[in-house]
């Protein structure tokens, strides 16, 4: 029996789309959905929460968090209320031992991680001359090295299952940085290079590795800004997290099996034209605190 389903699970601001599936969750053309769960890092809030909820219609989800325990618990609650299955697991992805512990637990509770979305990130935006080396290290450790830790641990099971989907969250800052983003932009540029490298290493085992590069999204970071950036965006609005989650939902699907090693901008067209410095030609606010995506 087939039906049209709306992806996403009622996330505020999510713009849903429909696709045809069988009621048992397998594809309408009869291809069996690969088993395994999804792991979304930094999923206690913002984009990560939206992605975790969007993916929960396909498979169990591990909601990784590091600082926002209440947020992660709320995400799990919403997924379960919508009929999905999820667990929240705390781990600082910059710590390889913590990542190992998280994987051991999620494999025991939900099965192998065959979908990995590397969303967790921190930022410390200051002009390079003011940026402490410790802050540089922290930004690179979470945004770049942390993604390596989770990918490295996931690949063994993905290779054995002949299926895997990895989506790394980059940023338009990787190629269009704002002043103050030396650490963040460098880490995200590294993410894009790592994405392409791993993509060509494992492609013939049915694994795809892609990156997305969002522009401004309606998350906690934007709420902290004292300027309205909407006017600087070609659509005259910033993205809702659910819109970006929809792209991730596609990239982890069977239908996206030939999309590999790509960096997909999802920025409303911002980087298609001339770089826009700020609504008033001033640099972005500096001194943003360390914060998950």
């Amino acid at each position: 029996m087939q039906k049209d389903v709306v992806t996403g699970l009622g996330i505020e601001g999510h713009i849903p789309y429909t696709r045809s599936v069988n009621t048992n969750g397998d594809r309408a053309d009869g291809v069996k959905k690969p088993e395994g769960c999804a792991l979304v890092t930094g999923a206690g809030r913002g984009l990560g929460a939206a992605i975790a909820e969007a993916l929960a219609d396909e498979r169990p989800v591990c909601v990784n968090w590091n600082e926002d325990a209440d947020g992660a618990a709320a995400v799990v609650e919403r997924i379960e209320a919508a009929g999905g299955r999820a667990v929240a697991i705390q781990a600082d992805i910059s710590d390889n031992a913590a990542v190992e512990g998280m994987y051991n637990r999620v494999e025991e509770e939900l099965g192998p991680v065959l979908v990995l979305v590397n969303n967790a990130g921190v930022r410390r935006d200051l002009p390079a001359g003011f940026l402490d080396p410790e802050d540089w290290q922290r930004v690179v450790a979470v945004n770049l090295t942390g993604q390596f830790h989770t990918i490295r641990r996931a690949l063994g099971k993905m290779v054995r299952h002949r299926f895997g989907r990895i989506v790394n969250v980059s940023s338009i800052s990787a190629v269009r940085p704002l002043p103050g983003q030396s650490a963040y932009a460098a880490a995200k540029a590294g993410v894009e290079a790592m994405t392409k490298t791993v993509a060509i290493e494992v492609a013939r085992r049915g694994i795809t590795v892609n990156a997305i590069a969002p522009g401004l999204m309606n998350t906690g970071f934007v709420a902290e800004m004292d300027e309205d950036w909407s006017a600087a965006m070609p659509p005259r609005r910033i993205a809702e997290p659910g819109e970006v989650a929809g792209l991730v939902h596609y990239l982890v699907s069977e239908e996206a099996s030939y999309v590999n090693g790509a960096v997909l901008n999802i920025d409303g067209g911002l980087t298609a034209g001339l770089a826009i410095f700020s609504p008033r030609g001033r640099p972005a606010p500096a001194g943003i605190a360390l914060d998950d995506n």
């Binding site: 063994g156 290779v159 054995r160 290493e201 013939r204 085992r205």
Partner: protein, 84 residues
């Protein structure tokens, strides 16, 4: 994971050959002097083989041990050596 000490070199050798065939190596071409390159076994295959040996025998393969490995016989010697 604990090394499964009851594993014999013969059991492990058999599993290695099975895995290489699964990866696409020609069974008729598998003799000790055959190079991994001639068998079309590459680093991704070796990575997956390491996963199999870890999962099934509890062996932690160190990629540095394969620096001088060129032939199937070389590879089997290194891998079976983990049992000692």
């Amino acid at each position: 994971m604990v090394l499964k000490t009851s594993t014999t070199p013969e059991q492990m050798g058999t599993r290695i050959l099975e895995a290489l065939v699964e990866f696409g190596a020609d069974p008729d071409a598998m003799h000790p002097d055959a190079t991994l390159e001639s068998l079309e076994i590459d680093s991704l295959d070796m990575f997956e083989l390491a996963q199999i040996l870890h999962q099934e025998f509890g062996i932690e393969v160190n990629p540095d041990d394969f620096e001088d490995v060129a032939t199937l016989g070389d590879a089997q010697a290194v891998l079976v050596g983990y049992l000692k």
